[in-house]
């Protein structure tokens, strides 16, 4: 994140593309409100939430967190490689980030599949409505992030790589909060 922005006011004091930081703030506010709503619903209906939450695979959720964190490292290393002019290495790191993103989605797919096979869906109860909406909305971000990483790996200017990886780290950041909230807090 090396580019100095010229006329974005206070946003010029942030690294990378200012519009990406506007997006990050927007996402943090939207998800922040949703997270607080989830916590309130949990406390108002503890029996439904705790009994449903106990059917989630908490360990697998933790493993998926590690997968996304490692993917974030690969994305950050891709930026450094590109800034040093090592395009081949940058593509390798970006490729690793994409593969790990796909692993994350695969685990989510397995989780959803297990729930659907048990007859559990979006309308089962309030917990599962919020679980599918929040994790599903996040999973859409992961899919979108993977597409962005592939595009910036192809159109690989330093700025493009920075923008793409910034989005990827934001997806990582949201999951860091989503995981303990949905899987662990009770």
């Amino acid at each position: 994140m090396s580019k100095v922005q010229d006329d974005w006011g206070a946003l010029s004091r942030l690294p990378g593309n200012p519009m990406m930081w506007v997006l990050i703030w927007s996402e943090l506010v939207v998800f922040g409100v949703s997270f607080i709503g989830f916590a309130v619903a949990h406390v108002l209906h503890p029996e439904i939430f705790i009994s449903s939450q106990n059917h989630l695979n908490r360990f697998l959720g933790g493993v998926n967190t590690m997968v996304l964190i490692t993917s974030g490292l690969c994305a950050a290393l891709a930026v450094t490689a590109r800034q040093n002019g090592k395009r081949r290495l940058m593509r390798l790191w970006l490729g690793a980030a994409v593969v790990l993103g796909c692993v994350f989605l695969w685990v989510k797919f397995l989780e959803y599949g297990e729930k659907f096979s048990q007859g559990i869906g979006l309308e089962t109860n309030m917990f599962y409505t919020l679980y599918f909406l929040l994790t599903g909305f996040h999973a859409f971000h992961v899919v979108f992030g993977i597409i962005i990483l592939i595009i910036v790996g192809w159109k690989d200017s330093v700025e493009n790589i920075e923008i793409g990886t910034t989005f990827w780290h934001m997806v990582d950041l949201i999951w860091i909060i989503l995981f303990p909230l949905i899987y662990l807090l009770r």
């Binding site: 942030l14 690294p15 406390v43 360990f59 450094t80 950041l173 860091i176």
Partner: protein, 94 residues
């Protein structure tokens, strides 16, 4: 302002810290059992999550090179959101 990226070595150590903190999250949240969490464990979960979010912001997203105001804005916002969530869970246990 000059925005210098963290070195690969720094990024690697951040990754190690994040992995260790994730294990801390799983242990605090009793990820392999269904037992209820005490208020203290809920508080620990909130603090670990805040530290992890700050590591991602400051190093992966390089926020540490931004102005002090932006750093305070992000850390305060996350602290407040996580604080509200943890308070709701702790109060819900009373």
């Amino acid at each position: 302002m000059k925005f210098t990226n963290p070195s690969p070595k720094t990024l690697f150590f951040c990754w190690l810290a994040l992995m260790a903190l994730t294990i801390g999250t799983m242990l605090s949240g009793h990820a392999t059992s269904d037992i209820a969490l005490s208020g203290l464990l809920i508080l620990a979960l909130g603090l670990i999550t805040w530290v992890k979010a700050m590591v991602i912001l400051r190093y992966y997203l390089n926020l540490r090179t931004a102005s002090r105001g932006w750093n305070r804005a992000f850390s305060s916002y996350l602290f407040v959101v996580l604080g509200i969530i943890m308070t709701i869970f702790i109060v819900g246990k009373l």
